[in-house]
Symmetry: C2
Subunit: 212 residues, 2 copies
Amino acid sequence: MKKRTFKDNIYSGIAGMTKAFSSPNRLEIIDLLANGEKTVEQIAVQTAITVANASQHLQVLKTSRLVKSRREGTFIWYSLNGVNAFAAWKALRDLALELEPAVQATLRQFRQEMGSPGSVHYNNHPANEQILFLDVRPTDEFAAGHLPDARSIPVGELSERLTELPRDKTIIAYCRGPFCTYADEAVQLLRANGFQALRLEESYLDLKIDHN
Amino acid sequence: MKKRTFKDNIYSGIAGMTKAFSSPNRLEIIDLLANGEKTVEQIAVQTAITVANASQHLQVLKTSRLVKSRREGTFIWYSLNGVNAFAAWKALRDLALELEPAVQATLRQFRQEMGSPGSVHYNNHPANEQILFLDVRPTDEFAAGHLPDARSIPVGELSERLTELPRDKTIIAYCRGPFCTYADEAVQLLRANGFQALRLEESYLDLKIDHN
DNA sequence: CCGTAATTAAAGTATTTGTTTGAATAATTG
DNA sequence: CAATTATTCAAACAAATACTTTAATTACGG
């Protein structure tokens, strides 16, 4: 094999895999699946596309091996194929957050419109008994992995379950990642009800991959 | 801003940046620039494309902020724009090496045809005085950063400079990364001349990014 | 003003991409 | 086995891009 052929083959192969990452809908699906397996319809609902379209995108992701699937009855459950797939998504995400002004601006503006709740990074949160980590993702995602000592209340149930939460602690809510709005909604609701609440910048997955 | 608008904007923004990564030629340019700044003509020669074509790809990379440039006289020197750009490339590269059989097979086959020199990972190299790390990249890339205690002999000069190398040590050659052939060529040459020689799997950049 | 380095506009060619529609498949249930 | 549910798939459509080359142009230095 010639040196040039070798390089052409290698870089073409990687570029082929990279193409699976370069569609907005597919990125949203990857971001979603990182938090736990989902059926096609769940994916379609969450990303606001049709089931058929979601299925098409999932075939692309499956062909490039970024996701895998298993059948259970009439359902097919999709999930990310390994931690490296999440690592690549995270690298691209963080790169865009660093270098792409449009992405930065959109995030800043949205947070501001949500009332700019204020946020903490995990690495410098006050490590005492005055705080409570609240996981506001669906319970199955919590079950698939969560922060140590976090409590689980899905954002949809939060308004009816406020009595479960302590009023003498600062509640630090987290969800799927920087583009998930659940934590913002939770903090907004908690503050409206007199709680001390903040958003955690990192998701469980971000922390897991950093501190491996 | 509606939740859906927010997500659409965010994922579109990231996908836009990701598209810069999804061309074989651009990936090769990124891989090259990671090791140090280069002029347009150097890039064109190394990647075996025309200067005009290289320039076109560089504009794409510059627009998406993956590379930056500075002028020096009539030359324009391009380089990667920050360590996160390299981190994203590395993540995509490692993902393909893990999941894409075509990439794995091409690499395996090429190494085999080069005489399958044998290789070591940095993390389990014998840490004693019986080894010598040899950086076979161009001197300017060595100057931009290299392994501690590594010696620099560009692969093109190696055959004339064999007398500089000790015969009582195992020589561990490294270059730009897994798809760079310089180290393979160096090991081949060294072995043909009776030296003990191995290829280091990691590049300087891989080790630099891992260990902090 | 000439030479070198690089960019750019334009043109051409080819390919691809995302989505929808409607039919088909696959497993479960009654 | 028929009906139901979840999903896939083939086909088609409509845009949109992507890559490369050519030739003219800009930018700088001497």
